[in-house]
């Protein structure tokens, strides 16, 4: 592509009189992208997350050994070497392969929690904020009750009730992480519910359902995306914590938290068993945090008129 066509494409995107719905939408996305990509650290965060997704998708190709079956006879607790990049654990399994497959479980937990918790929080918050009165009081008191418990302890209680396993850990984390989203969505809703543009839609005869869904939710979504992305690190750590306590992923699943838990017995002599998954959690959490910060700059409605 020559420089000229790139230039004309940019002009098309930034045009202040777009000729179609698509052009208006793309132009808006492009402006957000430019603001996002101006932040180097946010790009680093995004690269880490893209790498995580690629590793999870290509785990079968990238992992040289099985994640669950080890060589108990010859390969127990070997230090890092050319054959086993991150060493092996007490069951003779290659830690590098386990981390590569573990990326799948990390993504699974993060994505499931986000798509369960964020919509619940968004719905509770916007309905409470828009309806006001008794609906608001009841919904927000329920939210307060959930917020009053320490997150990990409440998740522990749920897992204890539901039984250990990664699906139940996901459910428990989702149940404990929606209240802050409800708070955010309610606060955003309260700032816009009395604005003239919402009144104007009321005067069109729109139902409250339609107003919340089509006019208020879109305004709450960007602050919610930011918050969810920043919470991803916390979700990974909670999942790892549950795994560490033996209530999350069950052996032989290569979940990073569970790997640290099993490595703690040899942490002084065979440090790599716990260190490798610990570093993986650290890097991915950092990636989500950097990405969240970048998204805040790009999407925050308070920073500029977009």
């Amino acid at each position: 592509m020559s420089a000229e066509t790139i230039q004309s494409r940019r002009e098309w995107l930034l045009s202040d009189r777009p000729a179609s719905r698509l052009q208006a939408r793309l132009g808006r996305a492009y402006v957000a992208w430019r603001r996002f990509s101006a932040n180097r650290l946010a790009l680093v965060g995004m690269l880490i997350i893209i790498a995580l997704v690629l590793v999870a998708a290509l785990a079968d190709v990238l992992a040289p050994y099985s994640a669950t079956v080890g060589d108990l006879k010859n390969a127990r607790l070997l230090p890092p070497s050319a054959a086993h990049w991150f060493g092996t654990d007490d069951l003779g399994r290659d830690i590098y392969s386990r981390i590569v497959y573990g990326a799948r479980w990390t993504l699974y937990v993060v994505i499931l929690v986000a798509i369960i918790a964020a919509p619940i929080g968004l719905l509770v918050g916007t309905v409470a904020g828009y309806a006001g009165g008794w609906t608001d009081t009841i919904l927000m008191r329920i939210t307060d009750i959930f917020l009053a418990f320490p997150k990990l302890v409440l998740a522990l209680a749920f897992v204890a009730a539901l039984g250990p396993g990664i699906e139940n850990a996901v459910l428990a984390i989702a149940i404990t992480s929606w209240p802050p989203y409800a708070r955010i969505a309610r606060a955003e809703t309260l700032t816009v519910r009395n604005s003239d543009y919402i009144k104007a839609v009321q005067l069109m005869g729109a139902s409250p359902f339609r107003i919340v869904l089509r006019h208020i939710m879109p305004l709450c979504i960007s602050s919610l995306i930011i918050r969810v992305t920043l919470d991803m690190a916390g979700i990974i750590l909670t999942a790892a914590g549950l795994g560490f306590l033996g209530l999350g992923a069950q052996p032989p699943l290569p979940e990073w938290g569970a790997m640290i838990a099993s490595g703690r017995r040899f942490i002084l002599d065979q440090w790599w068993v716990a260190a490798a998954p610990g570093a993986a959690i650290l890097i991915v959490s950092l990636g989500f945090n950097l990405l969240g910060d970048g998204l805040r700059d790009a999407l925050d409605p308070r920073s500029g008129d977009q």
Binding site: Y197, A200, L203, H215, L219
Partner: protein
């Protein structure tokens, strides 16, 4: 002539504050009726009470022969539309003009959307180039034109105007007022217009009501106001104030 809007003894109370204290008025069909008064006199509240945005404590509102209850149905909103004072606050910040104009059509299930949107934009003097812009890509006057297009797209018979030009500068004000005059003539609309600017009211309206502290002071015709044939002191003060600051030295 029949009355488009007839209000009898209207009271509006916000948390024990009586914003309107038994106001009555009658707007004839096709007429342009003005409401004048200082800030806090209840003129905007009167419009909001008609649309159902302000809590009516007592009194009756009759629009096109139908007495309004506590809630308004969809048919009401096809008859009565409103243009807000602040064009910077009345357009959704995340929607294109196209989306804004489509919304009322979608709510009322009107089929020929494309044609209506194009017609509405043409009518308010905004060409196709404005259709896919966001509110922040428009000037104040353009935004108010979009707001007018949105109000007109349901083809109402009554338009409520809440200080439609007070947030605009003088030259744009004149353009928007002329536009309003033009659409009124073309669609035979009934206007109920609120303003604190006597010049605008005398220019736009045939009859007007002067309000103070939630009460009607007097009802005048535009020619009475121009000729200063008023009977209440309050109106006289208002007239004097509208002549502007006079240097006495």
């Amino acid at each position: 002539m029949t009355a488009a809007v007839a209000i009898e003894g209207l009271e509006v109370v916000f948390d024990r504050f009586r914003a309107l204290k038994g106001v009555s008025l009658e707007v004839r069909e096709g007429e342009s009726y003005g409401l004048v008064g200082e800030s806090g006199s209840g003129k905007s509240t009167l419009l909001r009470a008609i649309t159902g945005l302000a809590p009516v404590a007592s009194g009756t509102i009759i629009v096109n022969g139908k007495t309004l209850g506590k809630t308004r149905d969809k048919a009401f909103y096809r008859d009565v539309q409103m243009v807000f004072q602040d064009p910077y606050g009345s357009l959704h910040p995340r929607q294109t003009v196209d989306r804004l104009l489509q919304e009322p059509l979608a709510i009322h299930g009107i089929a020929d959307g494309e044609k209506r949107i194009e017609r509405a934009l043409d009518e308010v003097g905004l060409g196709k180039g404005f259709r896919f812009r966001y509110a922040h890509q428009l000037s104040g006057g353009q935004r108010q034109r979009v707001a007018i297009a949105r109000a007109l797209i349901l083809e109402p018979s009554i338009l409520l105007l809440d200080e439609p030009t007070s947030a605009l500068d003088a030259s744009v004000q004149a353009e928007v007022l002329n536009l309003l005059e033009e659409v009124r003539r073309r669609h035979k609309l009934t206007f109920l217009m609120v303003s604190h600017d006597l010049a605008i009211i005398t220019h736009m309206c045939e009859r007007l009501m002067v309000m103070q502290n939630g009460e009607a002071v007097e009802t005048l015709t535009a020619s009475q106001l121009i000729g200063h044939r008023v009977s209440e002191d309050y109106t006289r003060n208002l007239l004097r104030a509208s002549e502007g600051f006079v240097r006495t030295a």
